[in-house]
Every structure is written in C-alpha cells, then in structure tokens.
C-alpha cells in the first residue's frame, strides 16, 4: 500500500511539473485535470475541518466534568444551526447574510481589536533597550510608529516619513527578500524530494 501511494505521488507530481516546461496539448489538459482534482480536495478539506471540530467538542461534551464543556456545547450547537440554515436557505439569502453581518463580523472585529490592547501592554513591557539588539529594534519600532502618524510627519517635515520609507525599503526589504528566496528554494527542494520519493509524509 505504501508503494502504491508513493507511486501515485511521484507520477502525478512529475506530470504536473512537466506542464510548466512543455506546452504540449495533452500535458496541458492533463495538468488542468489534476488541478481541478486538487481544487476539489482542498475544498473538501474544509469539510474535514468542520468534522474534526465537531468531533473534538462532542467528545468533550460526552466526557463531561471537563473544563470548557459549556463552550463546547455552544460551539456544536452554533455550528450545526448555521449549517442547517445554510443548507436550507442558501449562502446569499437573508438568514445567512444576517448571521454573517450581525454576528460573525462584529465578533471577529471585536476579537481582533483586543489585540491592540495586548500589543500596547507587550510594547510597554518588552520593548526595552536591554542590549544592542533590542535597542536597534526599539529605535526601528519608534521610527515606524512615528512615520505612520501624518501629523508627526507634518511636524517633522516628512523626516519621519522618509526614515520610515527608508527603513521599510532597504533593511526590511532585504530581510524579506532573503526570506522569500530561502523559502522558495526550500519549497523547490521539498517538492523534488516528494516527486522523487525520498520524503513520504502521506504514507507514514
């Protein structure tokens, strides 16, 4: 069985890779079909995520006497309720839109807004110049913060804005490019290992 899985992974990966180098009609059509299958599998992964979520919380409800059992009940009930409403009324109709606009959006926004307060507390406690590295990071953070404030830019004559632009364009961009190139090379190596069959995460 492991041999079969490895053979399938190698064959499909190699054929898909060939479609990027050769514009043969058969290869193009084959690549398109494989890509459609991948889209279906990725979309199906969302259903699996929902199923796993229900399984975890249902097991917590069944075991009882566990901390957070009440929240698990809310999660399961809400998920099933929204699922049923979506299946019955569709995604773009009234009930689903109302739930999304009046429940999901505000809750998600409020949760995201709390991070600002946590960020402020962390900045007060962590952004301290203990050594040279932290000092440089502190100075960079202050420059970016000041460059994000338009009235400060006006007050400083766009000095802070220019500093911020330079900071983001030169040192920061250099670091980001290095990360991008490294990630790309690692992705190529990992892909080749999967195509060749050296790595078999699907069969372990």
């Amino acid at each position: 069985m492991k041999v079969l899985a490895t053979a399938i992974a190698i064959a499909f990966g190699f054929l898909t890779l060939l479609t990027y180098f050769f514009r043969l009609p058969m290869l193009v059509e084959l690549g398109r079909v494989f890509t459609q299958w991948a889209v279906i599998l990725v979309a199906f992964a969302l259903i699996l995520g929902l199923a796993n979520l229900l399984r975890v919380h249902l097991s917590r409800i069944v075991r009882r006497n566990e901390p957070g059992m009440g929240f698990s009940i809310v999660v399961v009930v809400t998920a099933l309720l929204v699922f049923v409403i979506g299946m019955l009324f569709g995604l773009s109709n009234g009930p689903m839109t109302w739930i999304f606009d009046n429940m999901y959006l505000p809750l998600e926004g409020a949760f995201f807004a709390l991070t600002a307060f946590f960020l402020a507390t962390a900045a007060y406690r962590a952004l301290r110049a203990r050594n040279l590295g932290t000092l440089l990071m502190l100075i960079s953070a202050l420059i970016v913060f000041l460059g994000q404030m338009p009235f400060v830019n006006v007050l400083t004559g766009n000095v802070t804005a220019d500093l911020k632009n330079w900071l983001l364009s030169v040192p920061s961009e250099a670091g980001v490019r290095g990360i991008l190139i490294g990630v790309a090379l690692g992705t190529v190596a990992t892909g080749l290992r999967l195509i060749v069959g050296m790595d078999r995460p699907y069969s372990e």
Binding site: T19, V28, G31, R32, T35, Q36, A38, V39, L41, V42, A43, L46, G90, L91, S92, N93, T97, F100, D101, Y104, L105, E108, G109, F111, F112, A113, A116, F117, L119, A120, T121, A123, Y124, R125, L127, R128, A129, R130, L138, A141, L142, F145, L146, Q148, M149, P150, F151, V152, N153, V154, L168, S169, S172, E173, G175, V176, R177, L180
Partner: protein, 694 residues
C-alpha cells in the same frame, strides 16, 4: 508376504520388511555371549542377553527350562581331560585371566577330597542340625547330588536338580571347558583337602594370618582381587540368576565330579561345605613361618614398623609429628580508636539472664519467654474496657474528653495591592481611540500624497482604465481585518463605479465572497446603473493556490456559478460573456489582509497570466509588498489605513478612512509614549540595582 524375490542370506524382505527366516532356537555357537568377568569379590555382572532361568528350588525344578547344551555336550563328548587341562580365557577382555595352568593345583585336589568320616561326622551334627532346621534352604538337587556323589553316582539329569547341574560331567570326565566366572557358577559340594606347603603360592602364604600360628585373631585381609581359581565356591540361592552357558572351569567341574566321602549320611548342605572349607583352611599349617609385615598388623603402631618393612614411597609420606606450639606472638599496641571498633562480646546484661533450657534455643541467654497467652488460653479480664489506660492512652483520652473549643479565626492578612501599569495602559488606549472621534476630522491635516508615492501610482493605475473595461478584484481578508481593509475596498469600488469599470469579484478565502458582496452592495446601493450580472459579478470562492493555478491554466469553468447561487452558469451573465480567462481582464486588484494571499498571487498568477496586478494590503504586509513592488512584479499598492486615507484624498472622496487615521495616529502616539516611559522606568530601576549592589 509381498512375493518379492530376495537373496538367500536375507533375513528380512527388502521390499516389505517381513521376516523371511523364521525365528528358531539359535545354534549353540550363536548363543554363546561373552560376559565380563567378575573381579574379585564384586557382584556378578548382569549379562546383556536374557540370562538363563535362575536355579530354582527343588519344588520348582519342573518349571525350569532346559539349559543350553553346547558346552555341556562338549564336556560330555570331550575326552576326560586331566585336571591340569588348560583353562582357556573366555574373552580377551577378562581383567582377571584365568589360570592357564593345565593342572589343577594339588592343594585344590586335596581340598576336593572328602574329609575323614570322623571329621565329617563331627561336623555334621551342627550342619545337619541346621539342615534339619532349615531343610528348605538347601536345594534338593544339591542334597541329592551330594548324596549321589558320595555314592559315586552320577547325578541323574531327570531329577529335580537344575539342568546345567544335571549335565555336569561326572568325576571321571575331565571336560576341557572354558573357565567361567566362578561366582556365577553354582559349585557343588566338594571337600577340599589341604594342600602341601610347596604347592601354596607365595602370595597365599603371605596372606596366611600369622595369628593362626600365634592364636591371634586374623587380620583383616585386604580386599584384593582373587584369581578366579581361588574364589570360594558359589553357594546357590533361589534369588541368584541362573548360570550362563559359559563352560564350567575344570576345577569346578572336578569338584562336582569327585565322589563324596563315603558316608551314609545325607548330602551336606552348602553351609556345611563352607564350614568345612574354613576348617580345612584353618587347619592348614604352612611349612614356614610367614612373616607378616608389621604394617599389616593393626596392633602395631607406626613407630614399631621397622624401616626395612616400610617401602620408600611410604616412608616419605609418613605423618609428620606435630611441632611444638608456636611461641606466643607479641601483641601490638592497638590504637584506642581501633580498639573501640572491636565487636563487643555478649552484653553484660545478657549474662544475668537465665539460660534457656528447652526448645531450639536451648543454651542461649536473653531469650524472650513464651507468652502465656500462646501456651494456654486465657479469659479477657472483665475490667479490660474500663481499665485506665496508661501513659499515652491517658493523654489521648484527656484530649478527647476536653470540650471542643472553636479555634480562633486567623486574621487574613491583606496582601498589598500590586500596582501595575496594565489598567492605565488600557485606559489610555481607550481614551486615545474615543476622543479623536469627538474632534473635527481635519484637525490632523493630512498632506496630499505625492503622485510618485505608492498610493499615487495606485490611483493612477485605476484612472488609466478605459470605461467599460473589466477588472478582477480578489477580496482576500478576514472579517477581523475588515476594519482596515473595508475602507480600502470601499474607496476602490467607489472609484471604479464612478469610472464605469466592470467589476468581477472573487476570493481565495472562505469568508471573502460575503465580504465582497457586502462591499459591492453598499457601493451600488442607490445606483441603478450598476446591475448585478451586467456591471458586476461575484464569482465566489476559489481554494487558495490550487484555485489560482486552475484560473491561470483553464480560466473559469463553463459550469461555474456565481456566489449568489443563481442557477445559471457564468457564461450566461453578460459581464462574463467576453471574459473567459485572466488575460481578458484589464487589471487585477488584490486586497490582501495578510502577506500570504499576496504571495500566492505573485507566485501563481503574475508570472504566467501576463496581467498587471495592483494590491491593497494591510500594514503588516507592507514589507513584503515593498519587495514585490521593487521587483516590479507589483505595479502599485496602498497600505493600511494611511493608504486608504491617501486614496480617499486622491480620489476626492473623504470618508471614514481619514477619521480612522486620526484615531490611529493618537493611539500610536500613546503607544510610543508608553514605550518611552517603560524604558525610562527600566533604566531607573537598573541604576538603582547597580547602586544597591555597589
């Protein structure tokens, strides 16, 4: 039988294994089995082959089986041999080879001769009395045989005597048979006449007890192996195994042949014969005084042994006399600390203890006496329950009897409140977010951005689109980032609608299509010129990179439907009639709430689609966007609230973005202030620590 022909010499069939030669009595020559000779006084060895049936008493002789006759027949057939017929060894493995002397020693001959009748009569009463007392012990064949021998008759084989004995040759015959183990062969009664001194071998002379001459108890003879001829005659018993088919030695045969002494008395029993032999032996008078070595007599001490009698090898191993006691060793002076380590002997306490007299511990001191309760039952004292406990029991009772007193409540020490900055930080940040909303929106006076700035280039790109062209907008952000990204999306959509640009919306995030629909509905509310399906369309969800790869490779699938769920394919919509692939779009606008969707578009779409891409990103993705912008993979981008505010200013549609920027600026100012205060506090505390250490 299978009928397979086999060779004559075959005993078993070569095919079926059946026996071809019937089982018959083996010839005499085949049945002679060599047996190991008996050494000295050892017990007779059990023959490997089933032995002949043992010699049974007279009353059981009828059940006896006939003995093999080969050697007996030979005995009978052979001419009477001399008494000195050679005794041939039975087997080469005999450790005690039989004497090959052809002549029976004269002393043996004399021993065979019957004692005088007077002596025999004198000895008879006791053995006769014993015989009368134990008539059943002596087999009848022996008694009859001896009687017949006395009479000079040959024992009849038809009598009750064992077959082998019946077939023994008569005295006139001197069969030359192979010597057999004399211990296995029942010897017939044969009076033994004393031999002359010259005929007695030296070794036998030496063995003659000196006490015989000195009237001293004979010493214990060493258990030396005796030659076969010297062994005493075997006394047959019912339990002994029957003699084998080995040939009877000549001397034994002659013993049975010689006539018994002329006596009318009945045959002497075996015991009587032995006694006679012993008497004759005791009556034997050696010609010379045999010098018995001193070491052979027990009464002699080693010191009395003459040196000449002790062999050299024995002389050297004489026991060494114990030497005198060694001189007393001087005791060394032992240090006190070592002396303290010396294990103590019995404690002085135990010395006063009585000594145990019974039981396994008898003789020991300090043994605990057995409790009387074990030895005998005892009744429980009636006052056991009411008896006053002693010691700790009384103390425990006093505690229980004491009235319960409630313990005084321990005053909880109020822990000092720890003063922290967290609540002040939260308060400051909340004030920084609320107060600016109460102020006029233009109090921050944001300057107009430069046209060469990224926001300016973004605005230019949108402005360069011809009217009626179609753009693709990807809403790739979560509701959590909607506070920042919705402002960008609304400004862009409003600009596009103003310029009559057709918008096709999609998303690579599951919640993106609904976000896009909200933006489009808000932007087109009250605008009847913008109709869904004609001017704008929502394609729905495409799963991340795989969906983008499919979009690039094959365009929109023919069976795809929009996000509104209308049951009609995309091609049925007018806006999608002329759009089948990405190349048909004039511009792609990516709204990325993080750097991952932007990276997916840059990696999957931009190199292969050949369509310009501009992006509206969150402030957190600005570093990555700068990299793509610098590489000219990204034509333009706007970042965060500031970018939205700049675009609103450029598009001359001030909105919530400008107000949000003011609020954000104040919050950022508070944050900077907190960072500075935190560092000051840290430095001050650090200096105090160093001063304290100093």
């Amino acid at each position: 039988m299978c009928g397979t022909p086999n060779k004559l010499e075959e005993v078993f069939c070569s095919k079926c294994g059946a026996r071809l030669v019937p089982l018959t009595a083996a010839p005499a020559a085949e049945k002679i089995q060599p047996t190991t000779p008996i050494k000295g006084l050892s017990l007779p060895a059990k023959p490997s082959e089933p032995a002949e049936p043992p010699a049974v008493p007279t009353d059981l002789t009828q059940s006896q089986e006939p003995e093999p006759k080969n050697w007996l027949e030979r005995l009978r057939s052979a001419a009477p041999a001399d008494e000195e017929a050679p005794a041939q060894p039975e087997s080469p493995a005999e450790p005690a080879p039989v004497e090959e002397a052809s002549e029976t020693p004269s002393w043996l001959k004399r021993l065979r001769q019957a004692p005088p009748p007077e002596e025999a009569a004198a000895e008879e009463p006791s053995p006769a009395a014993s015989a009368e007392e134990k008539p059943a012990e002596l087999p009848g064949w022996l008694t009859t045989a001896s009687a017949q021998k006395d009479q000079g008759q040959e024992p009849s084989p038809t009598e009750e005597a064992p077959g082998w004995l019946k077939r023994l040759p008569t005295a006139s015959e001197q069969p030359s048979v192979e010597p057999a183990q004399p211990s296995l062969q029942p010897a017939a009664e044969e009076p033994i006449s004393p031999a002359t001194e010259s005929e007695i071998p030296d070794w036998l002379k030496n063995l003659a007890p000196a006490s015989v001459q000195e009237n001293v108890a004979p010493p214990a003879e060493p258990a030396l192996p005796q030659p076969a001829a010297e062994q005493p005659p075997f006394e047959p018993t019912p339990s002994t195994p029957a003699p084998t088919t080995e040939p009877v030695p000549s001397w034994l045969a002659s013993i049975g042949e010689e006539p018994a002494p002329a006596t009318t008395e009945e045959a002497k029993p075996g015991e009587q014969l032995i006694e006679e032999l012993e008497a004759k032996q005791s009556a034997f008078e050696p010609a010379e005084q045999v010098e018995v070595p001193a070491w052979l007599t027990e009464s002699e001490t080693p010191e009395e042994v003459e040196a000449e009698d002790i062999p050299d090898w024995l002389r050297t191993t004489q026991p060494v006399k114990p030497s005198a006691a060694p001189a007393a060793v001087e005791t060394a002076q032992v240090p006190a600390w070592i002396a303290a380590l010396k294990p103590k002997t019995a404690e002085p306490e135990l010395e006063n203890e009585p000594v145990e007299t019974a039981g396994p511990l008898a003789g020991l001191r300090g043994v605990l006496p057995l409790a009387l309760a074990i030895a005998e039952p005892h009744a429980v004292k009636p006052d056991f329950l009411t008896a006053q406990p002693a010691g700790h029991g009384r103390f425990f009772e006093s505690i229980l009897a004491a009235p319960a007193v409630e313990a005084a409540p321990v005053a909880k020490k109020k822990s000092p409140r720890v003063w922290t900055m967290r609540p002040w930080i939260y308060l400051l940040l909340a004030l920084a977010a609320i107060i600016p909303f109460l102020l006029p929106s233009d109090w921050a006076s944001i300057p107009l951005p430069d046209i060469k700035s990224p926001a300016g280039q973004f605005y230019d790109k949108l402005q360069q689109l011809p009217a009626g062209s179609t753009v693709l907008m990807s809403f790739d952000y979560d509701p959590g980032q909607a506070g920042e990204m919705n402002l960008q999306a609304q400004a862009i959509v409003r600009q596009l609608i103003r310029n009559r640009i057709k918008i096709v919306a999609m998303s690579t995030i599951a919640t993106g299509p609904q976000m896009a629909q909200n933006i489009l509905n808000n932007a087109t509310r009250g605008n009847s010129n913008y109709v869904y399906g004609t001017n704008y369309l929502n394609l729905g969800f495409l799963p991340s990179e795989a969906g983008l790869a499919q979009l690039v490779a094959g365009g929109f699938p023919a069976t795809a439907k929009d996000a509104q769920g209308q049951d009609q394919p995309l091609t049925s919509f007018p806006i999608a009639a002329n759009v089948k692939a990405l190349r048909d779009f004039k511009l792609v606008i990516e709204l990325a709430g993080s750097d991952d969707p932007l990276q997916h578009w840059m990696e999957q779409v931009q190199p292969r689609a050949g369509v310009p891409i501009i992006a509206g990103i969150s402030a957190s993705a600005e570093p990555k966007a700068n990299a793509y912008f610098s590489a000219k993979q990204l034509d333009a981008f706007i970042s965060g609230l500031v970018g939205a505010a700049e675009y609103e200013m450029l598009s001359n549609q001030p909105g919530l973005a400008l107000i949000s920027v003011n609020v954000q600026s104040v919050a950022l100012a508070v944050l900077v202030l907190l960072i500075i205060i935190g560092n000051i506090v840290y430095w001050v505390q650090g200096s105090r620590r160093t001063q304290g250490k100093a």
